[in-house]
């Protein structure tokens, strides 16, 4: 099958036309297009049907979208029935979303960001940023390549291939690293900022931080960190105005 290099490149823009109608669907269709080209010569009708299916509704974590692209393209070449391929796409949405979100957004990313913040504030400066980008993108690009290759090899059996792969096994470990890294970074970053201020200021910052954590626990998603900050800034300005 030709076109896997171009499909891999296109996977990095899989969210290019993300929307509430088909979510990742069109992006998946765009990534699958070079892989489906050989089918056009073999079976033009099947190719046309495959293109339609490839751009239908789909959603998952973009880092693992290659598994869906590869598996559905392989199934098209293997002449699997159309409704079965559509069911495979639907079945892949939730697991690829959950696994990818836990692995990348809640695991690898906070782990590397936490480590990079420590390097940056301990004097590494821009080297911390460069190290972070290199480390993240090695995993990012390798995972995209692995996803596409695994999907193309497994076809309709992609569920079993995912289940026996490194992805589910590595999630707990990466999660622990993320917890530790963010925990490590928070006091070191706080110290970096609070160094020039007096002890009273440190107490004030700790109080604001505690209030923020408690309000986040009390109000849940309605009180994000950003919203709490804006409310706290507004209250501070009002207090300062009254005290003048």
């Amino acid at each position: 099958m030709n076109g896997s290099g171009r499909a891999l490149l296109r996977l990095f823009t899989v969210q290019g036309v993300w929307n509430y109608e088909r979510m990742l669907g069109v992006g998946v269709g765009y990534a699958a297009e070079p892989l489906l080209k050989d089918l056009k010569a073999k079976d033009p009708v099947r190719h046309s049907e495959a293109v339609v299916r490839s751009a239908e509704f789909f959603n998952c974590n973009p880092n693992l979208a290659g598994l869906a692209v590869g598996a559905t393209v392989r199934a098209e070449y293997d002449s699997a029935p159309g409704p079965q391929i559509a069911r495979l796409r639907t079945a892949l949405c939730s697991p690829l979303g959950a696994l990818g979100d836990q692995l990348f957004w809640a695991g690898l990313l906070p782990a590397l960001v936490g480590a990079a913040l420590v390097v940056v504030v301990l004097g590494g400066g821009l080297w911390g940023i460069i190290g972070f980008l290199v480390a993240y993108n090695i995993v990012h690009v390798w995972t995209a390549s692995w996803s596409l290759r695994t999907g193309l090899a497994a076809g309709m059996g992609v569920g079993a291939a995912i289940g026996s792969s490194w992805v589910p096994r590595s999630i707990p470990r990466v999660g622990l690293a993320a917890g530790f890294a963010v925990g490590l970074a928070a006091p070191i970053v706080a110290n970096w900022y609070l160094d020039p201020f007096g002890r009273l200021s440190v107490v004030a910052v700790l109080l604001v931080a505690a209030l923020g954590v408690v309000s986040g626990r009390l109000f849940g998603a309605r009180m994000t960190g950003g919203r709490f900050a804006l409310v706290a800034v507004l209250l501070t300005l009002v207090c300062r105005l009254i005290l003048r």
Partner: protein, 225 residues
């Protein structure tokens, strides 16, 4: 700080790349605030200002899980605006204002992402017949116009952020005590966001213990510094 037209242009180009990186193209993580801020600081000739603004907004970004159709702030262009406020100024007095401008721009960025998604959906609806006919050219066109739309969104957001930063520098003069109070408040709120986000991700499992261990080790390291 006086920003020359060339630097202004380079900041808008950087903001556009950073905005695209958040969702549409590559996701190489140049959209992370400490990356966006670090580079913006270099462009402005004050790398430390970029790191100060970037690390602060990174604490807020750690609270965000960009999952599914969730609405989340766009911290990349927002950090560039915050860096402009901070560049060339004493950070102890300007970080509060810079952080506030950054947070406001990030909220505007979140709203603009929703509008982008709606516009993308309308484009897909307009081409529903061609998609149902299996027209590959339409898939390509939708993809390219979607990315172009996001580039315009990112450039506009960066420009608005830079305008806000310029306005804040020019018209918002805070007395020393208020400026310091704002700085302390945004640092405290940033720490709350990072720890709150980590607690939420940790749930009740062993990850919470590792978070606690990290906090203890971090506090010990901070005490020795």
């Amino acid at each position: 700080m006086i920003v020359t037209p060339l630097v202004l242009l380079s900041l808008i180009v950087w903001g556009t790349l950073v905005g695209l990186d958040l969702v549409s193209v590559a996701q190489t993580m140049i959209a992370r605030p400490f990356v966006a801020g670090g580079v913006a600081g270099v462009l402005l000739g004050d790398p430390m200002a970029g790191l100060r603004a970037g690390v602060l907004l990174e604490l807020f970004a750690l609270d965000v899980l960009p999952v599914g159709a969730a609405r989340y702030p766009d911290y990349g262009p927002a950090t560039i605006a915050a860096t402009v406020v901070l560049a060339g100024a004493p950070w102890e007095l300007s970080l509060g204002l810079a952080g506030t401008i950054g947070l406001l721009v990030s909220v505007l960025g979140g709203w603009s992402l929703q509008q982008l998604r709606r516009m993308n959906a309308e484009a897909v609806q307009r081409h529903a017949a061609a998609l149902a006919a299996g027209d590959s050219a339409v898939i390509r066109r939708l993809q390219y116009t979607g990315i172009l739309r996001d580039a315009v969104r990112s450039a506009l957001l960066t420009a608005v952020g830079l305008g806000g930063a310029w306005g804040a520098q020019r018209w918002l003069t805070l007395d020393r005590r208020t400026a310091v109070a704002l700085t302390l408040v945004v640092i405290g709120a940033g720490l709350a966001a990072a720890i709150g986000g980590a607690l939420r991700s940790a749930g009740r499992g062993p990850r919470r213990n590792w978070l606690a261990a990290g906090l203890v080790v971090g506090a010990a390291v901070a005490a020795f510094l």
